[in-house]
């Protein structure tokens, strides 16, 4: 396998990782998952590996540790870490190199840390200084423990015994990811593979974690391979960028070059899909006088006896999109669930088209329920896998609006408005991609011709380019007069879709106003912090010729009819 000796590895002693012609195939089918990948990363530098789900970036990341998922196999190519070949070694030799030459930081520390083991065990075993195998506390010598404490301090975590005794579930998401980072750096590796390590974190935590990663790679002189689908994060962090598409690296170069002048059309597409932090906002409908479609006054909600929302006032007018912006735990989902009647333990006034809505959806009329529809966050869980798209769309329609005279017409119209081909009516959810599933969710919601659509983080489970398409779809619906309540933690999306934004922090609205005003002149310190923590794509991107096309998004800024 390693017939090309690393003859050229001597030409640069700073090279930490060299990958040459790496190919991984899936086993029964012999399909190449990644083919002929060639990469190089130098010490202290970070390579951003960008691509969508299914592009093979995680497969590549794992193969850098000589690890293959079930039913995959490395069939060709060479990997060398600081000049030492990794492939073609015995299992035991590979094991010795893991943790010392190359370490891995997983996507979701919540599932990658063992729930049944204390942090102390999990951190100290990563040093594999265990002399006595079989001994339960192998390698837990004072020297090892000193190193554990040192690396915990470096990632800004407590290093006392009480902390070391904790289990993973006793930490916050950000702390868990710091533990994972500490675990990777503990053995002074030459290379660290980071597989979307900030995906599950909110922006403030993400900013801190990214800062830690950058500082640690510099201090340790470690090379990093940062896998992500988020161009904005990579633009912020990486020295070099490699773009993956269908198992190939289609573009590779210094980050600035790739961002400023993308050579491959796919790279350009990815860049165009990234929502910019500051845009002119979506066309504002003129502020019509008269009553708002949805009017929330003084809403308070509890979980058990714990208050999660206080003094919430919100108005949504026809054709308007109001964004609810907040981090996890801010109460934004509870608010949207209260409006739609899924969470009924609240007090306060919810007026829809002038009529008060009962707290529980069971007590609302079918007509009221028909006019307010909800789209869930995760399209992989929101569609019944045993029903065809046609039945998925018709079920709420029949329930709320009665048996249609022409069911096919209802299905086709809903699919058309969600920009899906009519032939999809006969498909099952598993035959659809993530973006297509979310479109079906949207089609299901708009089939009953609602006046208000509540979107609960509906793009967070989707790739960036798919996200852009969904946003476009929602803007078109809005131009047709639909009112939207758009729940998100992604501040960049807000300026791309909403006219008004309500910033939620710890159950209260700390800032409420027009998107343009809030973005350019945030009043509240929390909003300012949120904006500061969001990776600002524009900064690293302002020289790009694409910049302008993004600034003026290809949307009909529809002069509203009449």
């Amino acid at each position: 396998m390693s017939n090309q000796q690393p003859a050229n590895s001597g030409n640069n002693e700073h090279t930490a990782l060299e990958v040459d012609g790496l190919t991984v195939v899936g086993r029964p089918s012999d399909v190449e998952i990644i083919s002929g990948i060639t990469l190089r990363v130098r010490r202290g530098e970070i390579l951003g590996l960008v691509g969508e789900s299914g592009s093979g970036k995680t497969t590549l990341g794992l193969s850098l540790l000589a690890h293959c998922k079930r039913a995959t196999e490395i069939t060709a190519g060479a990997i060398s870490l600081s000049g030492t070949p990794l492939l073609g070694r015995t299992e035991n030799e590979v094991r010795q190199m893991r943790g010392r030459s190359v370490a891995y930081i997983p996507q979701s520390p919540a599932s990658a840390l063992n729930p049944a083991l204390r942090l102390r065990t999990q951190l100290s075993e990563a040093l594999h200084a265990g002399p006595a195998p079989g001994n339960g506390t192998a390698g837990d010598t004072p020297r090892v423990l000193d190193r554990v404490r040192e690396v915990l301090r470096e990632v800004a975590l407590p290093d006392d015994d009480a902390f070391l005794k904790r289990y993973p579930h006793q930490l916050s998401g950000g702390q868990q990811q710091r533990v994972a980072i500490a675990m990777a750096f503990i053995g002074y590796p030459d290379l660290i593979v980071l597989d979307e390590p900030t995906t599950g974190l909110d922006v403030t935590t993400q900013a801190h974690v990214l800062q830690t990663i950058r500082r640690m790679t510099r201090d340790y002189g470690t090379a990093g391979v940062y896998i992500s689908h988020d161009m904005a994060v990579v633009a912020d962090l990486a020295d070099d960028i490699a773009v993956m598409y269908q198992g190939d690296v289609v573009e590779r170069g210094a980050a600035n070059d790739v961002l400023a002048a993308p050579q491959h059309p796919y790279t350009a597409r990815l860049l165009r899909a990234v929502p910019l932090l500051k845009t002119g906002g979506h066309a504002e409908p003129e502020e019509e006088p008269g009553d708002a479609l949805l009017r929330v006054r003084g809403l308070q909600a509890n979980y058990g006896s714990a208050p999660v929302l206080q003094n919430i006032d919100i108005d949504v007018r026809r054709g308007q999109c109001v964004a609810l912006l907040g981090e996890s735990g801010s109460g934004k989902t509870t608010l949207s669930r209260s409006v739609v009647g899924l969470h009924h333990r609240f007090t306060g006034e919810v007026l829809f088209d002038g009529e008060a809505l009962a707290p529980s959806s069971y007590r609302r009329t079918a007509e009221q329920r028909r006019r307010v529809q909800y789209i869930f966050q995760n399209p992989y869980e929101a569609l019944n896998p045993r029903k065809r798209v046609r039945d998925l769309i018709l079920a709420p329609y029949i329930h709320l609006a009665g048996q249609p005279t022409d069911p096919d017409a209802v299905v086709h119209e809903a699919l058309e408005r969600a920009a899906l081909p009519a032939a999809y009516a006969e498909r099952f959810p598993e035959q659809l991609s993530g973006g297509e599933r979310q479109r079906v969710s949207i089609a299901r919601a708009i089939a009953t011709k609602p006046d208000l659509l509540i979107c609960d983080e509906i793009t967070s489970a989707l790739d960036v380019s798919v996200q852009a398409e969904i946003v476009q779809l929602l803007r078109n619906l809005q131009d047709d007069g639909m009112a939207l309540l758009f729940v998100t933690h992604n501040i960049a999306l807000v300026s791309n879709i909403a006219q008004k934004v309500a910033v939620l922090n710890k159950g209260e609205i700390v800032e409420y106003g027009h998107v343009g005003t809030v973005m350019s002149d945030p009043r509240h310190s929390y909003t300012r912090a949120l904006i500061a923590d969001t990776p600002d794509f524009e900064l690293s991107f302002s020289e790009s010729p694409l910049h302008r096309t993004i600034q003026a998004p290809p949307v009909k800024a529809a002069p509203r009819a009449e």
Binding site: R98, A103, P106, S111, A116, H128, Y167
Partner: protein, 316 residues
Amino acid sequence: MTRLILQRLFYGLLTLFVVSLVVFLATQALPGDAARAMLGRDATPERLTALREQLNLNDPVAVQYGKWIAGLFVLNLGESFANAMPVAEYLGPRVSSSVALMALAAIVATPIAVAIGAYSALRRDRAADHATSMVTLITAAVPEFAVGILLVLVFATGSLQLFPAVFAGSSEAVLESPEQLVLPVATLVIAVSPPIIRMMRASMIEVLESEYVQQARLKGLPERTVIWRHAAPNAIGPVAQVIAVQLGWLAGGVVAIEFLFRFPGVGMALMDAIDNRDIPVIQAVTLLIAAIYIVVNLLADIVGLAANPKVRVSSR
């Protein structure tokens, strides 16, 4: 966690109370005359009156139940009708020999089944795994007395006369003749193991696919540490419930096996009591079997809670 255990304990006692009601109503308070059912053809008016007096049949049902329950607390289970001995004294040695049989079966079955399940998961989709799946499916489908008969045919008769086909000792000292215990214990082991094996395999496969096991491997830990420190402890939690159900089943399953091997335990006693319409013994044994079932499940709940650090730590 103490609160959770007390809560489980309370539910256990409640279940036991309901079971005692059912047992009592089904045996003694049924429409018809329990005394006549017990005496059958020997029923003379004098004996009927005497037995009705003895069983408190002349009292209202609630009072009968109260007297019976009150007796339970002082181990006064009445007098066996068939052999004119106090039930507690009659059952005492039989209970201990049955418990010995069940304990042996549990001690042998649990580790073996867990180990086979784990091994099967590690060899997933290879020949060893397929063979295990086949064998467990077959043994799970065959009733336990058929397994027992098969074992007797193979090991106790014909050319291989390794073990006795029926138990020949007394109930006082069953452990003193180990060779007589082999076949009954083996039968019980084969009967209870398949679900444990299958559950352990499924649970272990899930854990081996988990990200924390992948992460442990990517940390460069030896495979042994990965399996025994990272995978196995997390896999055993869901299996504990199945083990409990199976061990609870032992309490009832032992009846047929004891009968088959003429083993002098509660199962035999129950069969004899049914033959003799010995209602006090039937009541005592069924209640005992139910109690064992409940206690074993309670223990499994506690093990399950203790194995979960989330529960263990948060409720300190």
